[in-house]
Amino acid sequence: MNSAYAHHNLSDRTRISRPQIVSLIGPAVAAAGVVWALVQPYRVTLLHPRGQGFWWLLAEPPLLVVLVGVVFSLVVARPLLADLEGAG
């Protein structure tokens, strides 16, 4: 086998393209928030809301991380991907 060809073929398979990275950022952040909620469920006050005040119910750090990931995916990543594909 031609070693130059094999090297080229391998790099093509392993290299992650720019659209792939952009499309992965939001879901990765949202997944990190879900993992955080599973590891520390007591940080999600909505799971046990009885007797909690307004701010305790509003400020849910793991859910804020998920929210940022989702908003980024929908508002930023989606139109950016369209532009990247148009440019490519």
Binding site: R18, V22, A59
Partner: protein, 194 residues
């Protein structure tokens, strides 16, 4: 009715995380593609400027000491200056690339304010530990936006800048008003809560 300090830290952490993700996407996609839609040019500088504005009520409502007031006030000014300079640059009103020196300046001011206004040692409580780590993160990482003034097209520097911002948000999300850090909590810090 005023939210606890940790709630405010988490809300700001969410905003900072959003800015970090935008910076990362811009670094990956490249500035030409990022600026293809006009609204996107203003997205992260505008968010940074808005967070600077929102730091003023934080300064007003969380004045438990003069040094806290000075710290929050200096962050508000530094963030508004850096965000405003970036807005002026992307809009074309400002032309000199040296306006980007506002970012390393903001990082230095923020870092020094974090270090100076934390009166307790590292392992007093988690909030003290995070004030120290945040302060040193900002002071050391000020070299990244400083290098970007002379190498604005460097993908590695832009990605590093984004990752520093994401790291700051992670530290803010980890903040608690009274909680142990690596098993250490001073009895003077108060009773930990959930």
């Amino acid at each position: 009715m005023t939210p606890r300090a940790e709630f405010v830290h988490w809300f700001f952490a969410a905003g900072i995380l959003f800015v970090g993700l935008c910076l990362l996407a811009e670094a990956v996609a490249g500035r030409e593609v990022w600026e293809r839609r006009p609204w996107r040019r203003y997205l992260w500088p505008g968010t940074a400027f808005a967070m600077g504005v929102l730091l003023w009520p934080v300064m007003a409502f969380y004045t438990n000491s003069a040094i806290h007031m000075y710290a929050h006030g200096s962050w508000a000014e530094a963030l508004m200056l850096a965000g405003g300079a970036e807005l002026g640059l992307v809009h074309g009103r400002l032309r000199s690339p040296y306006w980007r020196l506002a970012w390393p300046l903001a990082f230095l001011v923020t870092g020094i304010a974090f270090l100076v206004h934390e009166q307790n040692p590292w392992f007093f409580a988690r909030s003290a530990f995070l004030h120290h780590t945040l302060g040193w993160t900002f002071v050391v990482a000020a070299t990244v936006p400083l290098a970007l003034v002379w190498r604005p097209r460097s993908t590695a520097l832009r990605a590093s800048f984004a990752l520093v911002v994401v790291l700051v948000s992670v530290q803010l999300f980890a903040d608690r008003d009274v909680a142990p850090v690596f098993g250490h909590l001073s009895p003077l810090a108060g009773l930990p809560h959930r």
